[in-house]
């Protein structure tokens, strides 16, 4: 392994490491535009030039492998002049519209110009005029004047989704990035070009003019819930007069999960969290019309109804269908409540065909998976399945239809949609107690006696386990609606109403309990789950 010196500090790295990577290990960021660790190296922007002893010319750090004994300077006068020159060249034609540019405040051209650039331009020539705010596709808008031709977007489309929509057209300073006439930039991963673009040339139509970076008060690290891949994300939240608003989801680098990318569905699907149609307050229906009811009253009534059923028919008359939308902590508490406190074996989470297979599959060989929920793996690992003699989800419905099952809890699933065939409505209609939790009103909630508003993934703390078995934390980015309680809180209350103790409901406490039990998560504590998640077999 070669040892080299960068800015006077020694570092030993594997052979074939490039200078830019070696510097990163020392925490030295060499400025760059065209280089991106996830894309092919083209060495075009010339921003990352460094001085290497005994090399006559400056070397580009992105494409120069380290060598033993190499002495590199990233801040020598020669380097600084070259860098200043590159920035001056870029700014010859780059519009200085930073105050109205979405990238302003988080723009590498702005940042490096401030750090290394010339104070003012020596050019008096007119800037080249090019196409502005051209819509490239459903998510992306393009400003060719701001483009510095780093070609990251072009390479991304060629190399990751392999759709190749973008190209560099013409030559020299006439070069321009564009689409073939009549085509659109519409692949499942197109949003990544927004993050890749080092200037404000490719911006998000959804986020356009929504915020300045410094108005985003919270950047919460979390995990995308929209499939079993569990892409690592950052949730950018802004305070508005009407409250907090999630404005943007960005991928967060995780080499083992999503590298630097995420799909458009995950990136742009979040406005539902702010949808006024969401369920905000608990409701109760008994003989008469549905009405709002305070949590405590509602949970007392539910407890009473449970007790009636259990006393009359035994715990086997109660069933629970949990959900792979739920976090591990919720799932663990659901299982504890139903299997241990109530003592029913009827517990399941599987309401989708893909959940009956040993594993789901990759949808496209990139990131997207066929299980479009976040936590089937967690539900399986935590054994949210029928106990001895227990019924699966379909079995519970049959049992309800036949009058054997009297009370059913359905969390975050619309059974009417999951089981469209068969006498589902009739089955649910025969129940003495149907409790449903949901983000939105559904046909199932319409039939339920008690409806609890559920929390979205950005409103709760906990973890999902992705298809690989990697446990990854989700963190609260948005404060839930005042009237909403978390499911653990509701379950704890319900247990209390039944004279039982559910145990601690904070993630640390739940994991203390999970870690005690035999199973895939034995020995794991909440603090063990790092920023990039935890794969139990690796721990």
């Amino acid at each position: 392994m070669p040892t080299l010196k960068i800015d006077g500090v020694e570092v030993t790295v594997p052979a074939q490491t490039t200078i830019i990577e070696a510097a990163e290990r020392l925490g030295i960021e060499i400025p760059r535009y065209c280089y991106h660790p996830g894309l092919s190296v083209v060495g075009q922007c010339r921003m990352c030039q460094v001085e290497v002893e005994r090399m006559p010319k400056l070397a580009i750090a992105c494409n120069t492998p380290v060598a033993d004994g190499m002495v590199v300077s990233t801040r020598s006068p020669k380097v600084e002049k070259a860098r200043r020159a590159v920035l001056e060249f870029y700014l010859l034609n780059h519009p200085l519209d930073c105050p109205i540019c979405d990238k302003g405040g988080e723009c590498p051209l702005q940042d490096y110009t401030l750090a290394y650039g010339p104070g003012e331009s020596r050019s008096v020539e007119e800037k080249i005029q090019r196409v502005k705010h051209k819509v490239l596709g459903p998510h992306i808008v393009f400003d060719a004047e701001r483009c510095i031709l780093c070609t990251r977007c072009v390479r991304f489309c060629h190399e990751i989704p392999k759709t190749g929509e973008l190209g560099v057209f013409s030559r020299g300073d006439q070069s321009e990035i564009n689409l073939f006439p009549g085509k659109v930039l519409d692949n499942a991963y197109s949003g990544n070009v927004i993050d890749l673009c080092p200037v404000g040339a490719l911006t998000s139509r959804q986020y356009r003019f929504q915020s300045r970076p410094w108005d985003l008060v919270r950047h919460t690290e979390s995990v995308c819930p929209l499939c079993s891949n569990g892409c690592n994300v950052v949730l950018d939240v802004r305070h508005r007069q009407r409250g907090e608003e999630l404005l943007r989801i960005r991928p967060r680098e995780n080499p083992a999960v999503n590298r630097w990318w995420m799909c458009d569905e995950g990136r742009f699907t979040f406005t539902y969290l702010h949808d006024p149609a969401r369920l905000r307050v608990p409701t109760w229906r008994e003989d008469g019309p549905r009405g709002e009811m305070a949590y405590d009253d509602l949970l007392l009534r539910v407890a009473r109804a449970i007790r009636r059923v259990v006393e009359a028919h035994g715990p086997e008359a109660v069933g629970c269908i949990a959900s792979s939308w739920q976090a591990n902590e919720e799932l663990f508490l659901v299982r504890r409540f139903f299997r241990e406190i109530l003592g029913t074996p009827h517990l399941d989470f599987r309401v989708r065909p893909v959940q009956f297979q040993p594993s789901d599959a990759s949808e496209d060989g990139i990131l997207r998976r066929t299980d479009k929920t976040a936590n089937s793996r967690g539900a399986r690992d935590l054994d949210l399945r029928p106990g001895p003699g227990g019924l699966d989800a379909a079995g519970m419905i049959t049992a309800a239809a036949e009058g054997r099952l009297k009370a059913l809890f359905v969390f975050e699933e619309d059974l009417v949609r999951a089981f469209p065939d068969g006498p589902l409505r009739e089955a649910l209609g025969r129940l003495d107690l149907l409790v449903a939790s949901s983000l939105f009103p559904t046909e199932t909630t319409a039939l339920a006696h008690a409806v609890l508003p559920a929390l979205g993934f950005a409103e709760k703390e906990g973890s999902f386990t992705n298809f690989q078995g990697r446990i990854q934390k989700i963190r609260r980015a948005l404060t839930p609606h005042v009237a909403s309680r978390s499911l653990p809180e509701a379950l704890r209350e319900l247990a209390l109403n039944l004279g039982r103790d559910l145990g601690g409901i904070e993630p640390e406490q739940v994991w203390a309990a999970i870690g005690e039990r035999p199973g895939p998560y034995q020995g794991i504590a909440w603090k063990d789950i790092g920023d990039l998640g935890l794969l139990p077999e690796e721990s």
Binding site: E165, G167, F180, G182, K183
Partner: protein, 163 residues
């Protein structure tokens, strides 16, 4: 859009190369000759033929001066504007040509017959100033000689390979 015979020629052409993408520029030359210019449809045809993305082919085509992405005249006159030709009268020649045809360099006569294009060094400096009409060199060109060439071109008496 492309005749079967031409396509057969392409099939043979790409076999010359270990990787068929190498046939791209020769094919673009021929398609341009057949269609008149590289229309989006023509580019899309070539892209499909070589299993490349149309943007990729357009990107390549737009790199080269002799490949035209906009319609051009039936005849193409290139005028060298580089140093030696300029030393020996390229600019007066260009002005003469523009006057005679009533169009500017980079434009096409309204009847679609002739396009004018400034070119960089054509490797004819020893016989400057030089022009090319439809791929054929004409050297030591004077305004008078130019008039004769234009006359012949209009009468269809100028040989040219239009490649």
């Amino acid at each position: 859009m492309i005749s079967d015979e031409t396509k057969k020629r392409f099939d043979a052409l790409v076999k010359r190369y270990p990787e068929k993408r190498s046939g791209l520029i020769p094919i673009l030359h021929e398609v341009q000759a057949e269609v008149g210019y590289l229309s989006p449809e023509a580019i899309a045809w070539v892209a499909a033929y070589l299993t490349l993305s149309p943007a990729d082919v357009m990107s390549v085509a737009s790199f080269y001066d002799m490949l035209h992405l906009e319609p051009v005249g039936k005849h193409m006159i290139y005028v060298c504007q580089n140093l030696t030709c300029s030393l020996l009268g390229a600019e007066p020649l260009i002005r003469h040509l523009e006057d005679r045809l009533g169009i500017r360099m980079g434009e096409t006569t309204p009847d679609g017959l002739i396009s004018l294009k400034r070119m960089e060094c054509l490797a004819s400096c020893g016989t400057a100033p030089a022009i090319q009409i439809d791929g054929i060199f004409y050297e030591r060109v004077t305004p008078q000689k130019l008039d004769e060439l234009l006359e012949k071109l209009r009468n269809g008496r100028l040989r040219g390979s239009r490649a």
